[in-house]
Subunit: 191 residues, 2 copies
């Protein structure tokens, strides 16, 4: 069946696209690019820290790394600026339906989240439950409060349902997490 104005077709494409299982990192990078393009916020993923042990210099300009190792990140993955605020977050996805395993977040990253909050930054986790295909923003203080009051090795899905904010998928930007930040800072990039 053909739809002359193409609207229905576009909608089908959108649904397909959403189900293709884009990874969270891609969605966030694309969202951050949207924010940059529209001069709303400048938030970047930090490069993966690498320990370089061997480099070849075939010419002055071209260096080839011949041996290197991944290092454990000491801070969170993303940071930047929005409305004068320092923004800092970590993004993780899990295949587990009922809980988010805490081994995903290293102890020095937890300390970093604590430091950022104490110094007035906006800090949170973005967690995607792949099976439900739901993405949540969990404020840093709610995350720390869970850690302080629980001995569990994972945060139950129900904790996210109760305390975290669900980030809606939209066409552009894909994961508009700053809308949730707006609720907190009382501003809005749309104004």
């Amino acid at each position: 069946m053909n739809y002359p104005n193409g609207i229905k077709k576009q909608k089908v494409q959108l649904v397909n696209y959403k189900n293709r299982g884009m990874c969270l990192e891609d969605d966030i990078n694309e969202t951050n690019r949207y924010y940059c393009r529209n001069d709303l916020a400048y938030i970047y993923k930090k490069p993966t820290p690498i320990q370089i042990t061997k480099v070849d210099y075939p010419s002055r300009k071209e260096a080839i790394i011949k041996e290197a190792y991944f290092k454990e990140p000491s801070t969170t993955d993303y940071n930047g600026i929005y409305c004068g605020y320092y923004i800092d977050f970590e993004a993780k996805e899990t295949k587990i339906k009922t809980a988010f395993p805490l081994h995903n977040i290293h102890p020095h990253q937890i300390q970093h989240i604590r430091n950022v909050i104490r110094h007035g930054g906006i800090c949170f986790l973005i967690v995607r439950f792949q099976i439900q295909n739901e993405t949540y923003l969990l404020w840093g203080d709610d995350f720390l409060s869970f850690l302080e009051n629980n001995t569990r090795k994972s945060i139950p899905y129900s904790y996210f349902k109760t305390y975290a904010k669900k980030i809606q998928f939209t066409y552009q930007p894909r994961l508009d997490y700053l809308k949730i930040v707006d609720e907190r800072i009382g501003g809005s990039y749309e104004k």
Copy 2:
């Protein structure tokens, strides 16, 4: 000659140390570690961006990068949080006595500096003139104003003498650049 209280000796060591030609990056990293240790600010150097093209996985935990290339950074090298402010800067040193060559700062880094300032961040360059052994903090807006009003391919040393703030070498922290930031934001971490 021996000094029983050791004070003179310590001073001599300090002078020697200053002349050993520590690189600017080391001085800044050490300063940032001092700020962290004393819970004053959390400012980190971003890892060098690298394009990985070949990885070996001898075991699940240990990956060895076998081929990778350096990528050009699209933002500045350092960012973080201080007194609720987003802090962002680039650090460079030059062996040229009379000027700081502008090819040291890439066009997308200049755009990044513009973006950060427009969105309320604290943005600057730290430039060391190796021959004079002097280190300056040049505010982002003074840097941009130079670019807008000049066609030169370098910023003369005299411009730094006039418009930039000299960062004093001290024992701890080595390069207390936040003291200069304090003058701007009207606060102080010492209070």
